[in-house]
């Protein structure tokens, strides 16, 4: 079996394990905006397309990307290998005829598929609900740019899951308690807009910002989350994030090869 075949076998095994009650909070985070938008659609009958568009993009750019996907990836990717170590089950995988890098790659793929599916569905449902409950919104969906925006939003979801997933997976292999660097990353990503140009490149947010379809007119601290301080072409942003993810996953594979399993009670 090739390395990719081995990785796919691991990914299938991970996906078959499914979502346990321990990760239900990720589903709740992904679908909380959907519930709120549904309540808004039922109660508020004075819909302005411009307002709804801004609210929706605020939800996607600030809630989903900065909060939901970030913490969802933190919870899921830290446990992909870290959970196996904590529950003393990693040795079963190490005893299978698998290359260690295929094992890590398979887990990463499973994590990305899961988070993209969960948050992609959440974002899609939010967009459809936000525009689907009033006439002007439905027209914006069918004849306007809403679907094109949704495609860009889904691309951002994919890239965010790749980038944050890779970083958190690497953290789980680097640190015994990855929660601390996780908090550091929250701060790093938060103040990224205020960092020197060369440091901005070491951030997932840096590559995501140019891809958002709508610029939010926010001021003050929140603008750190939304303003593109150093615009870059979307193709370069996408390529940059893929390269960033590739580098981090390669590093994680190298770390994985060095891991030893010894739960010895001796």
């Amino acid at each position: 079996m090739s390395v990719l075949g081995q990785a796919w076998a691991v990914a299938r095994m991970e996906l078959r394990r499914g979502v346990s009650w321990r990760s239900l909070w990720v589903l709740m985070m992904a679908f909380a905006p959907v519930v709120i938008i549904a309540a808004h659609a039922l109660q508020d009958h004075t819909h302005q397309l411009e307002d709804e568009t801004l609210i929706l993009n605020g939800i996607v750019q600030i809630y989903y990307v900065r909060f939901g996907i970030f913490f969802g990836c933190l919870g899921l990717f830290l446990r992909l290998v870290g959970g196996e170590v904590a529950e003393r089950t990693l040795h079963y995988l190490f005893l299978a005829p698998l290359r260690r890098e295929a094992l890590l790659l398979g887990k990463f793929v499973a994590g990305v598929l899961t988070t993209v599916l969960v948050f992609g569905t959440g974002v899609t449902a939010s967009v459809l609900l936000m525009y689907g409950h009033f006439g002007e919104g439905r027209a914006y969906l069918t004849h306007g740019p809403a679907l094109a925006h949704l495609r860009l939003d889904l691309l951002v979801v994919l890239l965010a899951c790749l980038g944050y997933g890779a970083v958190f997976l690497a953290f789980s292999l680097l640190f015994k308690n990855p929660a601390v660097p996780g908090v550091m990353l929250v701060l790093w990503e938060g103040v990224n807009g205020a960092l020197p140009a060369w440091l901005k490149h070491l951030s997932v947010t840096f590559y995501l910002k140019p891809l958002f379809p709508v610029e939010l007119p926010v001021k003050g601290l929140l603008s750190l989350f939304t303003v593109v301080a150093e615009p870059m072409p979307p193709w370069l942003a996408v390529t940059g994030l893929f390269v960033f993810t590739g580098l981090v996953v390669t590093f994680a594979c190298w770390r994985m090869k060095g891991i030893e399993v010894s739960y010895s009670s001796e």
Binding site: M1, R99, S262
Partner: protein
């Protein structure tokens, strides 16, 4: 026997930081049942983790059937390891646990299903296979781990305390299974604290203490080399008093005790070969009726006591 049929340690050491796991271990294990015997912390699990590639040696070289110990893919195909760690992925049944693991071997689904059923049957877990592992008894969990280790038909089976948690009947069944596998030419490497049962099935014994190999080989050869402790021989015969008087005359005989039932002797001798010659001579001269002669301390338990001592817990 060529090296590619053996498990070979060449001056292998393993340190966990500053803590010694094993030190300067040189071994060449042939197929058959090899028992690792030693107290807690002697390095048994470290040796097993090394030979299955879970850990790497700090120094030295190690090969399993001619494969380098860092060749995880090849070793994973040819070796099975039943660890002593009683942990399982959440929510699995016995069958899904074994089947899921076989899925990582790149087997076709039907083949994986067939091997799963075969492994479950071998450890007597077919009926309980579809129940959650979390609801199993300790012995059942042990058997499922054994099924996993066996499931891909490995050539090397490494078993860390495989008899733990099993009732006497299950222990006997497992030992018979190990003997059967060894008879098929497999390496079966066992650590167990149930010395008398290990003794019964072992072809080869490795005694460990504080990370060092104290002795290794066939148990009779190891016992013969332990010259500090005279060998004990049990002789069943008629007229034991006459035999005792004859044996006492020999220099190599340290002690002779008449058996409480008056139908035999317990003899301690420094030279087993000389004892047998002396015994033959006396029997011929006095026409004593000899029923049986057998070593009384030619077993793992006795060798363990002599070499490692009673101050450590037998494991």
């Amino acid at each position: 026997m060529s090296g590619d049929r053996r498990i070979v340690f060449e001056d292998v050491s393993k340190f966990y930081g500053e803590v010694l796991g094993v030190n300067r271990v040189t071994l060449s294990l042939p197929p058959g049942i090899t028992s690792l015997v030693g107290p807690n912390g002697s390095g048994k699990t470290t040796l097993m983790n090394l030979m299955t590639g879970l850990i790497r040696p700090t120094r030295g070289r190690l090969s399993v059937l001619g494969l380098a110990s860092d060749d995880h893919v090849a070793i994973g195909r040819r070796a099975g390891y039943c660890t002593q760690f009683d942990s399982f992925p959440r929510g699995v049944t016995g069958r899904s646990f074994v089947r899921g693991w076989l899925g990582l071997h790149g087997l076709r689904a039907e083949e994986a299903d067939r091997l799963t059923a075969e492994a479950l049957d071998r450890v007597g877990m077919t009926e309980a296979a579809d129940r959650k592992v979390a609801a199993y008894s300790k012995g059942m969990r042990q058997r499922i781990r054994l099924a996993l280790a066996l499931s891909h038909r490995p050539e090397v089976l490494v078993l860390d305390e495989p008899l733990n948690g099993l009732d006497p009947m299950a222990r006997a069944e497992c030992l018979a299974l190990f003997q059967g596998l060894a008879g098929e030419g497999l390496h079966v490497v066992i650590s167990s604290h149930i010395l008398h049962e290990v003794d019964r099935v072992s072809d080869h014994v490795v005694l460990l203490s504080h990370g060092y190999v104290v002795a290794e080989g066939q148990i009779h050869d190891v016992r013969t080399e332990v010259t500090d402790h005279p060998m004990q021989m049990l002789v069943r015969c008629s007229r034991p008093h006459v035999l005792a008087a004859g044996l006492f005359a020999a220099d190599h005989v340290v002690e002779v005790r008449i058996h409480p039932d008056g139908k035999g002797l317990l003899v301690r001798t420094r030279d087993a070969a000389a004892f047998h010659r002396q015994l033959n001579r006396i029997v011929l001269e006095t026409e004593i009726g000899l029923e049986a002669v057998s070593p009384a301390d030619d077993d793992v338990g006795a060798v363990y006591q002599y070499l490692i001592g009673s101050d450590t817990e037998a494991v």
